[in-house]
């Protein structure tokens, strides 16, 4: 994807959901499965990192009395 710079949690989450649905429903040709799984894993990692950053930001702010 060329729009890597613009990736947000929302976009990543949306793409991830779409992939998961495809995989779940068995729509993915086996040829493409490995690629799709890789893509999904990358998205999971991106989302997890985003969540960690947000969480630490929120905790930092809430600790600032």
């Amino acid at each position: 994807m060329s729009k890597k710079n613009e990736l947000t949690y929302e976009k990543a989450h949306y793409a991830l959901q779409k992939l998961v649905t495809e995989i779940e429903q068995g729509d993915v040709p086996l040829d493409l499965l490995a690629g799709k799984v890789k893509e999904a894993k990358d998205l999971v990692e991106f989302c997890t990192n985003r969540l960690r950053n947000i969480e630490s930001d929120v905790k930092k702010i809430s600790g600032d009395e």
Binding site: L16, Q17, L19, V20, I23, E24, P29, L30, D31, L33, A34, V37, A40, K41, V44, C47, T48, L51, I54, E55, V58, K59, I61, S62
Partner: protein, 394 residues
């Protein structure tokens, strides 16, 4: 012949003191031991607080004509009646009141006729005060039908329905100089345990006496003229027995308070009565309670804010938590679907001419196929092809 009667003795022989003593006797015979209740207006009231004495005049008028006038006095034995009257009615014992009281008729050869008051009928005083109050309240509603309304005995005024600002910090204080009310209010506010800061601007006035209501109105107008954005106005007066409610029952002051554009809190400090001014604004009993209400109001706001903050962060963390959970779920699903996982369970991937085959119809006997099992690739030739008997497996 009545020889003992000096009036009938020979002319020019009677002395003034004899006449006076005679009058005294006549009156004593007529009135001694009699309980007399008299209703009259009082005037020329002169209290000598330290001596516990009070001189006054009883008068009865018809229009402008005075029909009767007799001096009156409270001696130390009955002076407490005045204090009781003031405490219960909330009115200063002063000129112009109409009272009903029990008197002894006295004639002194030198000081003349006077009525010595023994007791004041408080119920009568309360009755006439109440009547006056009711008339004033009715007039307020009658003259301001669109703004002042009464429902089930509770008055609704524009001032009462003004919302208090979320935080009260700037207060205009109407009070008497060096009064208990002034001191109590400021002390309670300044010494608050929360450490809230207040800006109190004092508008000093008389709070008793005939002109007091006009002076309070003047100070309300001064508050508006100042152009300052006060959060609230406090009208306070210390308690104590020497209290006069009259200014706060005046029509003009009540009407002014009812329509005043800044919320007014009153702490006029009377146990039994509620003044009419109180009924037009937010009433507390004492100056200290007005200050306490302001503190409570601010504390409530701060408390809500803290609660809101706490809830906000809890909700934010909750959103994150459920997002993480969802990600974990998806992650498990992806792992389960990945080719590595499938192969690790003993499944193989079959290719023919480099293409993954999922349909058995594409493979025939003697075909060359490759298959992948875990980390190994195999090349093989199909020796046989026959349909599976699915039931045999079970």
């Amino acid at each position: 012949m009545q020889p003992k009667d000096p009036m009938n003795e020979s002319k020019n022989k009677i002395r003034l003191s004899e006449l006076a003593l005679d009058i005294q006797n006549v009156l004593r015979n007529r009135y001694e031991g009699r309980v007399i209740w008299v209703t009259a207006q009082i005037t020329d009231v002169k209290k000598q607080v330290s001596l516990k004495r009070c001189y006054l005049k009883f008068i009865e008028k018809q229009g402008t004509e005075t029909l009767a006038e007799i001096r009156g006095v409270f001696w130390a034995n009955s002076y407490s009646e005045i204090e009781r009257f003031e405490k219960i009615t909330g009115k200063l014992f002063s000129d112009g009141l109409e009272i009903n009281c029990q008197v002894i008729v006295k004639f002194h050869p030198r000081f003349g006729l006077s009525l010595e008051v023994q007791e004041i009928e408080i119920a009568y005083a309360l009755g006439s005060l109440e009547l006056e109050r009711q008339q004033t309240l009715e007039r307020l509603v009658r003259e301001h039908p669109t703004t002042i309304q009464v429902v089930d005995g509770i008055f609704f005024t524009p001032n009462k329905s003004l919302p208090l600002p979320p935080v009260i910090q700037s207060v205009a204080l109407i009070t008497a100089l060096n009064s208990d009310g002034q001191r109590d209010f400021i002390q309670e506010l300044r010494g608050n345990k929360y450490g809230y800061a207040f800006e109190v601007t004092e508008y000093l006035t008389q709070i008793q006496g005939d002109d007091a209501h006009q002076m309070i109105i003047n100070q309300l107008e001064a508050i508006l003229r100042s152009g300052r954005a006060f959060d609230a106005v406090a009208i306070v007066r210390g308690g104590g027995s020497q209290t006069d409610f009259k200014p706060f029952d005046q029509f003009e002051l009540a009407a002014k308070v009812a329509h005043f554009p800044i919320p007014i809190l009153t702490g006029i400090g009377h146990d039994r009565n509620t003044s009419i001014t109180d009924q037009m604004a937010r009433q507390e009993k004492t100056p200290t309670k007005v200050a306490a209400r302001i503190l409570d109001h601010n504390y409530e706001w701060e408390n809500n804010l803290l609660l809101l903050k706490e809830n906000f962060f809890q909700s934010a963390l909750e959103i994150l938590r459920s997002a993480k959970e969802e990600l974990n779920g998806m992650s498990r699903l992806i792992r389960a679907a990945s080719p590595e996982t499938i192969l690790s369970k003993g499944f193989t991937i079959i290719r023919k001419a480099g293409k993954i085959i999922t349909n058995p119809k594409e493979i025939e006997k003697n075909d060359l196929i490759g298959f992948q099992l875990k980390d190994f690739d195999f090349e093989s030739e199909v020796k046989e092809k026959k349909p599976r008997n699915i039931n045999a497996d079970l």
